[in-house]
């Protein structure tokens, strides 16, 4: 087989890890609070700038800068819920989507205001790993590994802890849980913090591979929503598998055509899938 094709497939798998992490965070919020954070990828952008600012501008070592960024984005997540979502939780779902759309504009332009529209790089060059004839970037391998660990951690949290059980229960039935004496607003806050934290983790992994600029969110935001819906709402396994399907389409499709056309293919697949299987690959028909 063509070595470049193998490389495209490997890179697709590695990209899939990060997309899965992002889709998982969004899926959690979508599934539990029933809100689409259109600005989710912009939160990732905030995390990337936080790391850039700490590491490249102020010289804070990465192992310290990354956790700070994760906490920072988690706090942002809580703020998004407190300030934007919870005042309009009762109104039409589409309003919540649009309100976070306003947030998208705000974050993009605020980042432009603070850092300008230039592409910023943290200036860290990680080595390239050579496996046989294959060259794989270490940053991508690291990102893949950490993303898997992050997902495993979240899975354990949801399955093994009391709060995690409450989160899953709310996702299953919003009305009944209130009758059982669970305070949904607290669960929503924890979920928002978790979603934000996952975005923060993704930002720490992405900043190793990509330059950060105010509009970077637009390059992987839409695809994250598509993965989330494609996998089926509330289905973590579905989102995980959908992430790898999409990343293969993008990576291998990009190998045969161009990167834009591969995204076109991915979006078209999404549109068709919504019509054929609206509940997603692994979702349960309601």
């Amino acid at each position: 087989m063509d070595i470049f094709l193998v490389e495209a497939i490997v890179n697709g798998i590695l990209l899939g890890g990060i997309l899965a992490l992002l889709a998982l965070g969004l899926n959690l919020i979508f599934g539990v609070i029933d809100v689409v954070w259109i600005a989710y990828a912009e939160l990732v952008m905030c995390g990337m700038y936080a790391i850039y600012w700490l590491y490249a501008v102020h010289g804070v070592p990465l192992p310290i800068a990354a956790p700070i960024a994760i906490v920072f984005v988690a706090i942002l997540g809580v703020l998004v819920h407190k300030l934007i979502i919870s005042p309009i939780l009762g109104s039409a779902p589409i309003n919540q989507l649009l309100a976070t759309g306003g947030l998208l504009f705000f974050l993009q332009s605020f980042a432009t205001l603070l850092f300008g529209a230039d592409f910023r790089n943290i200036g860290l060059r990680l080595p390239i790993v050579e496996v046989g004839e294959l060259f794989v970037s270490f940053a991508r391998l690291l990102a893949f590994g950490v993303a898997l660990l992050g997902m495993l951690g979240l899975w354990l949290f949801l399955k093994r802890t009391y709060v995690g059980t409450a989160i899953r229960a709310i996702a299953q039935d919003r009305e009944i849980m209130v009758l059982m004496g669970v305070d949904p607003s607290r669960v929503y806050l924890i979920t928002s913090a978790l979603g934000g934290g996952l975005a923060g983790l993704a930002s720490a992994l992405l900043v190793l591979q990509y330059d950060v600029h105010p509009f970077i969110g637009l390059s992987f935001g839409p695809i994250t929503f598509m993965i989330c819906v494609l996998g089926g709402l509330g289905s973590m396994v579905g989102g995980f598998i959908a992430a790898f399907i999409m990343s293969q389409i993008i990576s291998v499709g990009g190998f045969y055509t161009s990167i834009e056309l591969s995204y076109v293919l991915a979006f078209l697949l999404f549109i068709v899938m919504i019509f054929v299987r609206p509940q997603g690959l692994f979702g349960v028909k309601s």
Partner: protein, 316 residues
């Protein structure tokens, strides 16, 4: 017709003759053209069909017109209708299954979002023909060429005014039609509406077609006026959200709402741009973003919606 309306109509024809700067006239033309596009969006947006895909129709309209002119020398007067046909065809291909399979709410928003990205990325990918993300310029001919739909700013004012007025007229006709009553029922409860005999798909496709067609016309006109097309500003998520937000902040349930939205967003943007200059790039959009969030939280019916409400209460 009341004499007041005729006077208002005549007054609207005046601006090019008034001693205003070229820049002011330019802003007025932009406001009129975008107000037309925003009005087009509300034709379907007001019935709960919140499309994040109008960037697609805008892009299809403008690029079809400009590409046919540049590559085949086809006059925009023929290219524009073709662009409208393309946009409507795409709207139906997406709209029909959406309606039949009851893709609504979040899912409708996400499908249309995917659609607009498909159009933007296709334009970028087809860079040999479209100029890709660098954008393209329609081939110029001496100014005020009717065939090329390239006018002086003086003439453009009336073209923009006519488009805007037609947009308002269509909005008004839809507002008074049976479709409006049917769509109101559908957006309340689709199943109940179908049960009383409303052809849900037919009604939805009717407003979708009108909306997509008008948006494509608006896109083509804006492209011809600016003489520059860019996939980021004429297709894609960015412009789709811009359309939705301007329409909502102005008020999508009132005829002049989208126009107020256009005035507000464009004038605010220009005002802040002049105020801050280039020292604070992004300041204008930052303030705009905060305003949008506040609008959706505190006045989801928009400026005009709130004003109309106040007037009604006073009368009662």
């Amino acid at each position: 017709m009341k004499p007041g309306w005729i006077l208002l109509g005549l007054a609207l024809l005046l601006p090019p003759f008034l001693p205003i700067s070229d820049y002011t006239l330019h802003i007025i033309i932009l406001v009129l053209l975008w107000a037309f596009v925003y009005t087009s969006w509300t034709v379907m947006g007001r019935f709960g069909l919140v499309s994040l895909g109008h960037g697609a129709f805008l892009g299809l309209g403008t690029y079809t017109t400009a590409l046919l002119w540049n590559h085949y020398g086809l006059s925009p007067w023929l290219g524009l209708p073709l662009g409208v046909i393309v946009a409507v065809a795409v709207a139906l291909v997406i709209g029909y299954p959406c309606s039949r399979l009851k893709v609504v709410g979040h899912y409708f928003a996400l499908v249309t979002l995917a659609l607009t990205e498909v159009v933007r990325l296709s334009i970028v990918a087809w860079r040999d023909v479209t100029g890709g993300s660098l954008g393209m310029t329609p081939n110029t001919v001496p100014p005020n060429s009717f065939e090329a739909m390239q006018f002086t700013r003086f003439t453009w004012y009336w073209v923009a005014l006519a488009a805007w007025a037609i947009g308002l007229y269509v909005w008004h006709r839809v507002d008074r039609s049976m479709t409006r009553a049917a769509m109101d029922a559908i957006s309340d409860d689709e199943t109940a509406a179908a049960a009383v005999g409303i052809d849900v798909t037919r009604q939805k496709l009717a407003v979708t077609t009108i909306s997509a067609a008008m948006t494509a016309v608006g896109g083509a006109l804006i492209g011809q006026y600016q003489m520059y097309l860019n996939p980021e500003t004429m297709a894609g998520v960015g412009v789709s959200l811009q359309i939705v937000f301007a329409a909502i902040s102005g008020g999508m349930y009132v005829i002049l709402g989208p126009t107020v939205g256009a005035v507000l967003t464009i004038v605010l943007q220009e005002f802040l741009r002049i105020l801050f200059g280039t020292r604070f790039i992004g300041a204008a959009a930052t303030i705009y973003g905060i305003m949008l969030i506040l609008f959706i939280i505190f006045m989801p019916t928009g400026i005009c919606g709130v004003i109309v409400d106040k007037l009604r209460k006073r009368r009662a």
